[in-house]
Amino acid sequence: MQGITKNDLIIRIGGEGGEGVISVGDFITQACARAGLDVYTFKTFPAEIKGGYAMYQVRASTERVYNQGDIFDVLCAFNGEAYNMNRAFLRPGTAIVYDSPSDFTPDIPEGVHAYPIPMTQTAKEMNNPRAKNMVAMGALSELFNIPVESLREVLTTKFARKGEEVVQGNLKALERGRELAAALKKTDPWAIGTPKSKQEVIVMSGNNAIGLGAMIAGLDFFSAYPITPATEVAIYVAKHLPKRGGTLIQAEDEIASISQVLGASYAGKKAMTSTSGPGLSLMSEMLGMAFMAELPCVVVDVQRGGPSTGLPTKHEQSDLFLAIHGGHGDAGRIVLSVENVKDCIDLTVVAFNLAEKYQCPVLLLSDGSLAFSTQSVPCPNPDDYKLVERKRWDGKGEYQRYKFTEDGISPMADPGTPGGLHIATGLEHSESGLPSYTSANHEAMQDKRFSKLKTVVNDVAPAEVDAAQGAGTADLGIIAWGSTIGVVREALQRLRAEGYNVKGFYPKLLNPLPAQQFEDFGASCKRLLLPEVNFLGQLAHFVRAETSLRPESYTICGGMPFTPEMIVNKVKEILA
């Protein structure tokens, strides 16, 4: 094996949907994670149900990876379309593995390392035409040092259900691919490094991790309506929640799903729904009721490109306005956002805890790039999580559901509790729950419902400040939210390596906004930049409204996440 070991390698596989592109990506991801490498994947699906261009990108590293990276080092093209789609991204040094002979002959640019592999032909010769992707995978593993022993294990496990013949057929195609690649002269420098240590990890997508987090939190009831890119949350929960004796229902629309969730919550259960922007719009009215009637619930919004039907399969962070203020009247909500797959587990638990404690809706914002991104995360231990249950009435004295208390939190009574009869209502009400429209009562009740949220900031870990040790005032500070945080982390590493004095600030609690934490960070930076994937600069808007800070907005909305390189260039431009 020639080549310079690179600790951090990005491989992109492209082809026709249904050709096994996604499986190859999954196998490589699983094998790398099994071998102890950190992985972060990124994929795009064709909007069409059948056919169309499918792409799977795997980033594997001996170090921690925070995002999908800038651009691939290695391209594996299953067909002409995949080559043409990525032609513009080829740079001197990029390696390309492609099917040849085939329906296309690539014009290899100067400096690009080309490895023609007869993928289709070999699979046909082996009387196993569907194993084209295995031949490709074998070639990739040989050329770039993808841990082959782990690949064999993963493959064997995956195909075991289909019988020994299928296992052997695929393994043989894999080996043949390796032989074909070994016969070629390796000219590029790329090879995955050897993992330092083997950690206990799991590999999950953001959507599945949200489902797992919910079950760790003690989810009892889940209702949702299918919507891209959030449906996989429901699919995961549907598979596993019955094992815990829980209830899952697919509702007739998003209004019904949030309604069912509130019904279940009233009945004393931990309940949740997941959706994307259009569904969250429909839920707005019922979320107002959840605030008014003080019913705990967790709503996950896996954001996609909007407005309206927008770009259903594309990435955007544009539902922050809706999450915080969507709906009529003055209504409060707690809004959290996740950076990565690990957050999808941990912050979902936090979301349930906050909903239970504060008896209000908690919105968890994820996004399109995280939804399907698989990442390796340390294997969670459910016993390590602290779980919160709603405050329940102790049965003493006369029960008043909306009793004024010091912290604004009034004990709840599950149906079945003797003496606890009460009404949950969207009408303004007195302490006992009966309609009351006096000005004094409405003002007192609004104050109760809002002031209880004042302590939320103490229940969420403070926003992380990303700064070099002993760093004083930074020339520039970057505020980021959602999956953009991971991109900023890497950009800051690169900038610091080049001598820039820069810091990062990564809030996960976005409403109520931890204003003091923002102020403290702002005070330690000469200038502030706030990159986010939406047109209006939504978080920047809230920061300007609720703090004295005036961050410079850097917005894109092309359906793709930022890359570290984009952030690096922007910072250099500002500090030039």
Binding site: V201, I202, G245, G263, A264, Y266, K269, M289, I423, P435
Partner: protein, 299 residues
């Protein structure tokens, strides 16, 4: 564990008169002569006859005059949003299948703004009792045409008379697959009580249409006209025959009559029973080890 919980567990638990089920804390809300008083009387009587423990009874409503009904019932209760009582009640029931859940609401609430939910309550056979308080008009907003208003009704937003064909809630519910369908004049609290009691005892989705006069905003459908148009269904009618029930309704409509009584009743598993079966099939229980689920995600 895994026993399928049923509301019946909480029946015959109290020896309450109908008035003991009346929550007196909220002052009267409806106009004098409103048909909804008859609905309330029927409901309280049914609860008394069932002896249902109020602690395990949940009344759910949406928005409208009729949706104030839960305020007058001694029970746990939810006064939700316009059109959403059905799905909220579904959530209460599926989360706690042991609770007895009664929904009440108007024709606009159920068949206009909430119309998209009705088919699913019926086809999924959600084990709740839905009382439609059908007065053929929007009352709380002071007299507009509802989906069950007569075509000729002159109302606030149709000063020259309506232009739309009314729908028949009973025909819809029969078509949607409801497993218990009955109808009565609200003023006939005895029949109303009988239908509600039967509906609450029924395992599955029970729909009861109670025709209720609105003396303030609907001059076309009065207590007298409703009463005079009602005919109790022929005792020979086969309540297990869905088509026969539809024929009874269609024939009566042609004659300008309203068939009352229990029109249809059938048995099939309710959704919560199917869900309980599923949990049983996968060996599910509250203490199932999460680590086993987490291990599935190891590479």
């Amino acid at each position: 564990m895994n026993a399928i919980l049923q509301p019946h567990t909480h029946f015959n638990k109290v020896d309450f008169k109908p008035k003991d089920f009346k929550d007196e804390k909220t002052p009267s809300f409806w106009c004098a002569g409103c048909g909804h008083y008859g609905v309330l009387t029927g409901l309280l009587r049914a609860l008394s006859e069932l002896g249902v423990d109020p602690n395990h009874l949940v009344s759910v409503s949406g928005i409208g005059c009729s949706s104030r009904l839960p305020y007058f019932v001694n029970s746990y209760k939810m006064h939700t949003l316009h059109g959403r009582a059905g799905p909220v009640a579904t959530g209460v029931h599926l989360a706690r299948p042991d609770l007895a859940v009664v929904v009440s609401g108007g024709d606009g609430d159920g068949f206009s703004i909430g119309g998209g939910h009705m088919p699913h309550l019926a086809r999924k056979n959600i084990n709740i009792t839905y009382i439609l308080m059908d007065n053929h008009v929007y009352g709380l907003t002071k007299g507009q045409c509802s989906p069950t208003s007569r075509e000729e009704m002159k109302a606030a937003v149709t000063p020259y008379g309506g232009m739309e064909e009314p729908l028949d809630p009973i025909l819809y519910m029969l078509t949607y697959g409801a497993t218990y369908v009955g109808q009565a004049f609200a003023g006939n609290a005895k029949l109303g009580a009988q239908l509600i009691k039967g509906g609450m005892e029924h395992n599955g989705f029970a729909f009861i249409n109670l025709l209720s006069q609105c003396p303030s905003f609907n001059e076309l459908d009065t207590a007298v006209s409703f009463r005079n148009a009602c005919d109790e269904v022929d005792p020979a009618h086969d309540i297990s025959d869905r088509n026969a029930a539809m024929q009874v309704v269609n024939k009566a409509k042609q004659e300008g009559r309203i068939p009352t009584g229990l029109l249809f009743k059938s048995e099939r598993p309710a959704l919560h029973e199917r869900m309980a079966e599923l949990v049983k099939r996968v060996g599910g229980h509250k203490d199932y080890d999460l680590k086993k689920i987490i291990d599935l995600a190891r590479p």
